[in-house]
Amino acid sequence: MFACIHSPEADLSAIAEAFSPSFEQTAPGTIVFKIDALRRLYTTHQQIAQAIIKKAGPDANVAIAETADAAILAAHNFRGISISPNLQQLNIASLPMEQEMWEVLESWGIHTLAQLAALPETGIAERFGPAGVHLQRLARGATERPLKIFKPEITYADRISLDHPVSLLEPLLFLIARILNDQCEKLLSHAMSANEITIHLELEDKSEHIRTLRLPVPMRESKSLLKLLQMDLEAHPPQAATQALSVTIKPVHPRTIQAGIFLPITPAPDKLELTLARIRGIVGESNVGTPELLNTHHPHPFQMSKHQPPATSHQPPTIRQAFRYFRPPLPAKIDLQNHRPTRIASPGITGKIQTAAGPWRTTGDWWTTQPWNRDEWDITLSNNSLYRIYREPTNLWFIEGTYD
């Protein structure tokens, strides 16, 4: 005899493990297992079913039937407990079958399992082949098959709950190192690496502090991972003492790359990542990386993206005039004559404007709440230095930078 639990809510594998070491997870929310051995503990099937439903909760359906498939069918179609129920009046839509076969059976006027079961087996075999025969056996409750035993996935998540809250980083890192050592060993034994690591701190003030590091190359050295976490936590410390912590690693297959013999030696990816993490800690996250040109006419048409090792390129670099941005732009006072700038005054950059080209006008993002609209000029001063100035819609002038 087999029992099937069907509940979309409960953690069914934990419940099934309480009754049987081996079970089949037919679908998310459906588990089936043999119950013959339970007869030593429980006198009747009803008692077994009640024991299961006690664990699974009142919303679960529990069915006990001769075959695994019959139990699954019953659990899907009858609420609460059902012991060897009569499935014959069930609609054929409850059977697992392809749409086309269902449509044919419906057009034949076959709506219930009983009607399907009553059709001649040879006729069904001739028309639908093995799939039809299997379906008819399901309808008759005559399928026998071994269970497909469920094997749990290997997880890389560990949690430590602390008796006393820890407010200093060092003892916290000691605990993190413990977890990381175990997990990295596990990674090694399964020939895996990590490309993402998440630390989840439960704090004394009931808040949570979650940090996720996405690694540019898969790594499994616990020391490197620890160092990265340490620098990240130094840059983003939790707001209160930690009561519990968990570390989760996302496992991936390690990347194996053979470096080109004629390529210049570059730092090891893990070391480079550590160095970049240090720089990020000093200058701020948004100021480190590779500038990436954005597809826009916006005056600031780039963003800093995460550093990626450059792909080898045979294209010669194009020579263009470089522009050096002042960050932030320098406020300036500009005198105008006939709508053209004639004199500039700004700390360190002052004088008569010799030539001015412009205005260069860009407007955009009109569909957003922050449209932009600005006029730029390129100006030269008496010392031949070339600057770009611009006027905000507020009529304030700024020096955006200088051409090298």
């Binding site: 040879t122 001739e126 082949g129 597809n295 006008r361 860009t362 407007t363 955009g364 569909w367 390129d378």
Partner: protein, 1041 residues
């Protein structure tokens, strides 16, 4: 500005914008030609050049708008070249324009629709008379066009990179001694319309606005700027501004100088076109007006009229046109293709004599001037109705062959952004999710009636979108801007233009989507504006039905029917019309027509003419329907609005019903000339007519005041005339349609089997679904036979049984069965009858499994074996036949085994019929429930006439039509079918609001209300609805016209 040198500029300079692009560049410009012209006039720009991308589709509208605004309109095109560049070319002379048209035609005709590029050699071949604006430093341009015809174009949009390019252009111009020309590369009339351009750019590139990035405009500077702005921008290059005027002066060509000539008709030696036309007309006159004692007077009048018409035709040099149309009609006759002229041509006795029209204009006293007048200076318009489908295509191909691919073409149809298409495109570009888009699209009113309380804001709020949300508010603005802009060029359903010589020198030609068709770049209205003559070859489903009926009558009844000589005043026809027994008839079958027929009670042919014309938005909105009916019934004295109108309105009992009457009214009461009256007519039928109608109204009022017509009468006359702006039939057109309506009624009354078969074979057409047509025919005593693989053809056919004619349904009614499969079945069946389903499957390998299943499900395989079986048994066997047996067993018959399936019940058969064929020849679904309905007090449709006016009533049936016309002030009309007939219900707006979900979401309804039984017109005024569960499937409802 741009230059490092500041210069003074002459504010009074004249500047001509020689590079504008309109919305006719399809998704590359966001202003209509009219908007550009209006803006230019506001800015005092004396001339404007419009260069759209590879087309001149907007040129006529540009020309007409400019003419009105007093601006010179220069024509040009941005031509795509195979070298990847676009060459802006301006027509200096007519030769230049002709070269431009030929160049575009050449490149378009060899490419797929919407594509094509000219080679540099072709640019050179068609370079004469064209000026090229060089927008890049390329010496080849000088080789092609000559140094005198090249201007180096500079544009300044405050763009750093553009200025570097300009420097290169200036150097190029200096080194080759070429003149500089300032333009602004205008893509939108005002800075605000840049947003719409950005949206259109996204639509063209199939990206959202968030992804578009540098595809969008950098700023909003490509708008129309005045001389002052442009002079300031080009302050350092004043000659570039001065040259715009110089070039504009050089461009002498405008569309007024098109040089169009209608083709000459080849006449026998020794004849002129005039003499030959006289001969043909005289011959026709003898046939049409055979004089005898009864018709002598008519013949005399006809002869006089014909002579008058011929004199005018000769004077206007139009004999060729009449001969060409006559030639098309003769071709149709020789090919046994039914043809009939409609429209204003039916006002002409010459057209009647030539056999172009079937309405005797003299006997009906129709107004010839409506068709042709010397004063108007406009070509006449002849529309020919042909059977829709292959026959019409044959006629079109005949015209192509006769006048050559470059001598004849179809007119275009400019597809513009409409409500839903605008919503979808804008919504997608702004990144709305698919469900949100669906919700917004659903807000666009798709029915005629729009609640006046409905504003876009209110609708959006009700659908859960806040108009305060910036994106939604932007969406609304864009919707208003983009709606009605051209989207792409389609093909008009039947308009053909023909030209003496080469049509491609008048307007560029393009390939149509349909193979073998060529389309010009102008639409119907543009052709009329440009004075190009056209012949409309229109497909009419009913013409195909009439033609098929004649053939079927010949084959099955063994009788010959000549539509030109049908018995007149047939009592059965008028009896059917008076009872509104008109399902399937031409023009008089709609619900509104049916509710009018018992009141109008047609007794002679002219009554049908009135009936066809009266149920139109024009007469209904003009409140002419009810006065006419009351007068017709003798309940009201016929009275004219004014004694002056007596002669015009006498025969329609003082009520204006036809366009001709309104034109004559305008001529009599407001002293309109014939030409002004014609202008009024065009404003009525013209889609861009609102402003024109208002102008005309003012002129009408002043004319009537001059004639001393009281203010109150003026109002009524204005109301009558302006309401025709919505839609009104000319009398001649109504008469042509009435002939077809009479013919269809005659065939239905006397040859029901043939008429019904022809109707079923020409679907979709008309007002009713095939299921309703079948039920109606059955109620008239016609019997049907089901689709049967051993008997049916692709189309429905007529079979004789026991001396009666039955209609056999054809395979064309099996949903999802391909014609190719049906033909394969017929071929195999012709070789030998099928012996079993397996035999059918083996011998017709084209038969797909879903097709075989369908055939078995509808009972089409029941008679394939010697002993007839039931549908389920056929299904059981079909499923076996579908399964591949492999080559080893292919010839082996299956071992017979008892089939285990139960036969279908009656309701299962009904559902299967509706599901797979959309109709049933068995009992109506309502018949199965009549007993139960009787207990509920439901009155069948055929018993409603016994319910007294004002009494409560309960009726029920399948809803076959829900209609909420714009003219009915929010009323909803329902047509309900049961096994006894079709009944009607009217739903007041408040009831509709309350019961909306029940009415719209159920196919079968029980309707409670009050009986309105007046003048034999039966309507239930609905008060309450309840869903009725009768069958899973139903006749598909024909909703929301």
């Amino acid at each position: 500005m741009i230059s490092v040198h500041s210069r003074s500029f002459a504010a009074k300079n004249i500047y001509v914008e020689l590079r504008t692009r309109s919305a006719f560049s399809f998704l590359q410009g966001s202003s209509t030609p009219e908007e550009l012209v209006t803006r230019a006039a506001e800015l005092n720009i004396p001339a404007l050049a419009m260069l759209d991308h590879d087309n001149v589709s907007g040129a006529p509208r540009f020309h007409m708008a400019a003419k009105k605004a007093g601006i010179r309109a220069h024509i040009g095109v941005e031509v795509t070249c195979t070298d990847g560049h676009r060459y802006p070319l301006l027509a200096e002379s007519r030769t230049g324009y002709q070269n431009l048209c030929r160049l575009i035609t050449r490149m378009k005709l060899r490419a797929k629709k919407g594509e094509g590029a000219a080679t540099p050699e072709e640019l050179a071949e068609f370079s004469k008379g064209l000026i090229c604006l060089a927008s890049r430093p390329d010496a080849n341009i000088i080789d092609i066009y000559g140094a005198k015809n090249v201007y180096v174009e500079l544009q300044r949009h405050f763009n750093r990179n553009q200025e570097a390019h300009n420097q290169a252009l200036i150097d190029f111009a200096r080194s080759h001694n070429l003149p500089l020309l300032a333009t602004n590369g205008v893509s939108h009339a005002t800075p605000q319309s840049r947003e719409a351009l950005d949206v259109l750019t996204c639509v063209r590139n199939k990206v959202t606005i968030h992804e578009a990035g540098r595809l969008l405009s950098m700023n909003s500077e490509r708008y129309l700027k005045d001389a002052r702005q442009m002079s300031r921008i080009f302050g350092d290059l004043p000659e570039s501004i001065a040259n715009t005027r110089e070039l504009s002066d050089r461009l002498q060509f405008t569309l007024a100088d098109l040089g169009y000539q209608f083709p000459k008709y080849p006449v026998p030696p020794g004849e002129t076109m005039n003499s030959f036309l006289r001969q043909c007309v005289a011959k026709g006159e003898r046939n049409r007006y055979y004089p005898n004692a009864f018709t002598a007077g008519l013949c005399r009048r006809a002869h006089a009229q014909i002579q008058k018409e011929l004199a005018l035709i000769e004077k206007l040099d139009l004999a060729g046109y009449f001969l060409i149309v006559w030639d098309i009609v003769e071709f149709c006759r020789s090919q046994n293709i039914l043809v009939q002229g409609r429209g204003s041509a039916a006002n002409s006795a010459v057209c009647y004599s030539l056999g172009i029209t079937a309405v005797d204009a003299v006997a009906m006293e129709l107004l010839f001037e409506r068709f042709l007048s010397e004063e108007r200076g406009e070509w006449p318009d002849i529309d020919l109705d042909l059977p829709s489908g292959d026959q019409r295509e044959r006629v079109i191909q005949h015209v192509y062959q006769r006048y050559g691919q470059l001598g004849a073409a179809m007119t275009a149809n400019v597809i513009t952004y409409r409500g839903r298409s605008a919503v979808r495109d804008i919504g997608k570009v702004l990144g709305f999710s698919e469900p949100d888009l669906g919700r917004i699209a659903a807000l666009v009113p798709s029915w005629g009636w729009t609640d006046p309380k409905d504003t876009a804001e209110r609708q959006f709020r009700e659908a859960g979108f806040s108009p305060e949300n910036p994106l939604i508010s932007k969406f609304l603005d864009l919707y208003m801007t983009i709606r009605d802009l051209p989207r792409h060029l389609g093909q008009h359903s039947g308009g053909m233009v023909i030209c003496e010589g080469q049509l491609d020198s008048i307007v560029p030609l393009e390939p149509a989507t349909m193979p073998g068709r060529v389309v010009i770049q102008w639409d119907k209205e543009d052709c009329a504006d440009m004075g190009i003559i056209k012949v409309d070859l229109l497909g009419l489903g009913m013409m195909a039905v009439l033609e098929d009926s004649i053939r079927l009558i010949r084959d099955s009844y063994h009788e010959e029917v000549d539509l030109a000589h049908l018995p007149q005043d047939d009592p059965q026809v008028y009896s059917a019309l008076q009872k509104a027994d008109t399902i399937g008839l031409f023009q008089v079958e709609s619900r509104a027509q049916m509710s009018c027929l018992p009141r109008l009670r047609p007794e002679r042919f002219y009554d049908i003419v009135v009936q066809v014309a009266i149920i139109r938005p024009g007469p209904i909105v003009g409140k002419m329907l009810n006065p006419f009916l009351r007068r017709r019934q003798g309940r009201e004295k016929p009275e004219c609005l004014h004694p002056l109108l007596e002669p015009i309105l006498a025969r329609t009992l003082g009520v204006p019903l036809f366009q001709e009457q309104l034109l004559r009214m305008a001529m009599v009461v407001a002293n309109f000339t014939g030409g002004e009256a014609e202008e009024l007519r065009r404003a009525m039928g013209f889609k861009r007519s609102q402003a024109r109608m208002q102008e005309i109204e003012t002129r009408l009022r002043s004319g009537m005041t001059t004639n001393g017509i009281p203010q109150k009468t003026q109002e009524v006359i204005i109301q009558s005339i302006t309401s025709f702006a919505l839609y009104g039939f000319p009398e001649s057109h109504a008469a042509s349609f009435a002939l077809i309506a009479y013919a269809s009624a005659y065939l239905k009354c006397h040859y029901l089997a043939a008429f019904t078969t022809a109707l079923l074979n020409n679907q979709p057409m008309g007002f009713y679904a095939p299921a309703t047509l079948v039920k109606d025919a059955q109620r008239h005593g016609l019997h049907f036979k089901p689709i049967d693989v051993t008997k049916s053809d692709w189309l429905c056919t007529i079979e004789e049984h026991d001396g009666q004619l039955w209609v056999r349904l054809g395979f064309n009614y099996v949903k999802g069965l391909r014609e190719q499969t049906a033909q394969a079945i017929l071929t195999a069946r012709a070789q030998a009858p099928f012996t079993s389903i397996q035999d059918l499957a083996n011998r017709v390998p084209e038969l797909r499994k879903d097709e075989l299943r369908k055939l078995s499900e509808i009972g089409a395989l029941n008679f394939i074996t010697e002993s007839p079986t039931h549908r389920r048994a056929a299904q059981w066997d079909s499923e076996l036949a579908i399964r591949p047996t492999g080559p080893l067993f292919i010839d082996q018959s299956p071992v017979p085994s008892p089939q285990p399936l139960q036969p279908m019940s009656a309701s299962e058969r009904l559902n299967s019929d509706f599901h797979n064929t959309h109709l049933t020849i068995g009992n109506h679904p309502m018949a199965f429930h009549r007993e139960k309905l009787n207990t509920l007090g439901v009155t069948p449709a055929n018993q409603l006439k016994n319910v007294r006016n004002g009494w409560p009533v309960r009726t029920a049936g399948c809803i076959i039509c829900r209609q909420r016309p714009g003219t009915a002030k929010g009323l909803l009309f329902l047509s309900i079918e049961d096994e006894t007939g079709v009944s009607n219900a009217v739903v007041m707006p408040d009831v509709f609001d309350r019961e909306r979900a029940t009415i719209l979401n159920n196919s079968y309804l029980v309707i409670e209300g009050e009986m309105q039984n007046i003048d034999n017109v039966l309507t239930v005024r609905a008060a309450h609805f309840e869903p009725l569960h009768v069958a899973e499937e139903a006749v598909p409802s024909h909703d929301f016209h």
